[in-house]
Symmetry: C2
Subunit: 237 residues, 2 copies
């Protein structure tokens, strides 16, 4: 029987043999939501990088590249945009390649390099992602990017939503997958409301991104599944 | 406002400044349950050690010491007993010092050495522990020992039970504390039944310790709070 496991923070990745898994990267607020939306809107590719300097280096390669860099929720000066999904509309990203630096999501992605396959998950592509996962007959690791390497509720709730959709397949769940699914049961009827009681709420209010949050919690806006090929995230075909 | 935080596994301890906290060590199955029961039953002290060899070295110091060593749930040959709470009755432990080696609990304890104070929690001393915590006016970190450095449900549920009892005090909760409390809400009416669906259930059935589990889930068998003094856990006075 295949495993369906949830890694609650990138700090716990060393406990898994990622090479035995398809890894789903989750960073609901907001990197993986924006990536799914951008790829769904026709971005040719999204290149995740971990350093702002690495991102800036693409400036010299021409206007094909859009540069997205954010630290602690703010667009870094001189860059085209940050992590807000509203920057990833088709009129902005169609046929472009976006170079993306993020605080948490890129970190999780780099740690999973050895996985069988790396795909990107968010509420915006939930059902499409789950339908694809159901067909793979592989171990699945849902990797929550968390907040500064620690647990956060929004990524865990999304992991629980995936566990929910995969329930008709006989997977072995670990305790974290069971907990994530139970938390999803509590929050699912109004995830935004549920998350308001969390620490993220204060954290994100300070960043002034309440609209982004509401956007990121929409279900199934796109069927696109971003997948890592080499150094680029592209649309899974 | 003081913090009430939950550290879901010892692997996440580096994310906290433990010196700012009273740390509660949690290893429900079974180390911290047995420690609470043993101290409650009049053990003079319990010395936690991380290596079986370290434990064995106390043999030469005389019969005052009882040696408890367990690896992967089994009593190590030549030792007096392991982690089963049934070994910690007053007829066995009264006025004795127990040298205890455990897989997960000792590890968590050693990682928190710099804390303001380290106390031991379990369902067996839940209310007494919480009443004491309420009076401290300090940041509190509930440290789940977990299973092989990863998340487990039983320790998290207990953390949620503590959060529940401290609700009338205005603490800042982190996301893990909120999640732990929500999971406790789901499981509290029959914790043993709730935990049966988890991975631990299979894991512990293999160890043949179902009776221990039932024992460890009893509420408030003792008012004793074990506290670390130097290298020894003794009864908080």
């Amino acid at each position: 029987m295949n495993q369906l496991n949830v890694c609650l923070t990138p700090a716990l990745i060393p406990l898994y043999n990622v090479e035995d898994y398809i890894v789903v990267i989750i960073d609901i607020f907001r990197a993986t939501s924006s990536i799914c939306y951008g790829i769904g809107n026709g971005a040719e590719a999204i290149i995740p990088v971990s350093q702002v300097e690495e991102c800036a280096a693409y400036r010299e390669k021409g206007f094909k590249y859009l540069l997205a860099a954010e630290r602690d929720g703010q667009v870094v000066e001189g860059f085209d945009f940050g992590n807000s999904p509203f920057s990833y509309t088709s009129e902005k990203v169609w046929s472009k390649t976006i170079v993306l630096t993020t605080t948490n999501g890129t970190h999780a992605l780099h740690l999973s390099r050895q996985a069988k396959k790396i795909v990107i998950g968010s509420f915006l592509n939930l059902t499409s992602l789950c339908n694809w996962l159901k067909k793979q007959d592989e171990n699945i690791l849902l990797l929550c990017s968390g907040w500064k390497n620690n647990f956060n509720l929004e990524d865990t709730l999304f992991a629980g939503a995936v566990v929910e959709q995969l329930k008709d397949i006989p997977f072995m769940l670990d305790d974290a997958a069971i907990a994530a699914n139970d938390l999803y049961q509590i929050g699912k009827d109004d995830i935004n409301e549920y998350l308001k009681k969390t620490s993220h709420s204060e954290r994100l209010k300070k960043l002034g991104i309440e609209k982004d949050i509401e956007f990121c919690l929409q279900l199934d806006l796109t069927t696109a599944i971003p997948v890592l090929e080499g150094d680029k995230l592209v649309k899974l075909s």
